[in-house]
Subunit: 156 residues, 2 copies
């Protein structure tokens, strides 16, 4: 099985397969005489595992842990569950942060009539900060992430 076939069959791009190999997430694949990587169904299953875990938002680091547990026959399901719960908690935090952003933006957009006139409460908020909004509804928004916390939330 080529890397291309393994890619199609696992849903992981060839690029990423090579990358995962380079960082040691997956073992180095076998090679043909010509140097082409060779994959078995077992390898593809591994790749699918990774793909699925990425879809669930696990970082590569966490996936390493999950893979170790997967291959450890004496694992305890509690260990796996703990990683999952941790992941859930992380997702929860980021969802709340984004929800707070979205709520604020929605209030601002609602307050903006959106016509041809230049006056715009959205720009006013950006200039003056949230504290100067006319009776703003931001008390319930427990101190937006002060430093770098909001980083990495843009669509890449």
């Amino acid at each position: 099985m080529n890397i291309g076939e393994a890619s199609k069959s696992s849903g992981v791009s060839a690029k990423m397969i090579r990358y995962y190999e380079s960082i040691g997430l997956i073992p180095a694949a076998g090679r043909t005489v010509a140097g082409y990587r060779v994959y078995t169904m077992t390898d593809v299953q591994l790749l699918r595992f990774i793909r699925r875990a990425r879809d669930l938002g696990f970082s590569v680091e966490k996936i390493e842990e999950l893979l170790a547990l997967w291959q450890d026959r004496s694992r305890q399901s509690a260990d796996v569950k703990q990683i999952a719960l941790h992941q859930i908690a992380g997702l929860e935090v980021r969802i709340r942060e984004m929800q707070a952003m979205m709520d604020t933006l929605r209030h601002l957009a609602d307050a903006c009539c959106g016509d041809h006139r230049p006056d715009c409460p959205i720009l006013a908020d950006l200039v003056n900060g949230p504290d100067h909004g006319s009776g703003a509804r931001e008390e319930d928004q427990q101190s937006a992430p002060r430093s770098g916390k909001a980083a990495g939330l843009q669509a890449h």
Copy 2:
């Protein structure tokens, strides 16, 4: 005003102020004879604008647009609103993606007894994919992002 003072006063780190200057998001600051950057209150206001917009999840690219509109006296509030609505829509999408991940993980975690035994439905799902889950509740999860879409969702 030093870059350090401007940083404290605007909430933008000195590092980032230099970065924003380097990418042309803000104009090059004045300099003292010694080469130190000098900032006025107007510059600080600009930095606060940027800081606030970042807190609201706008990308640097979008902030460029917002700044252009801010400085354009003949802008129409509709243009600003449109950017905000677009940002809201983007946030909505990513929140839904993360929510879907979280729901799936929660179902899996709920199904995992989390004790000393090795059997674990979480690992089983990762191995077999969502379609093999015992009567899984994933019909309502319209085809998880197939390619790269889930990228950038890890905490950096």
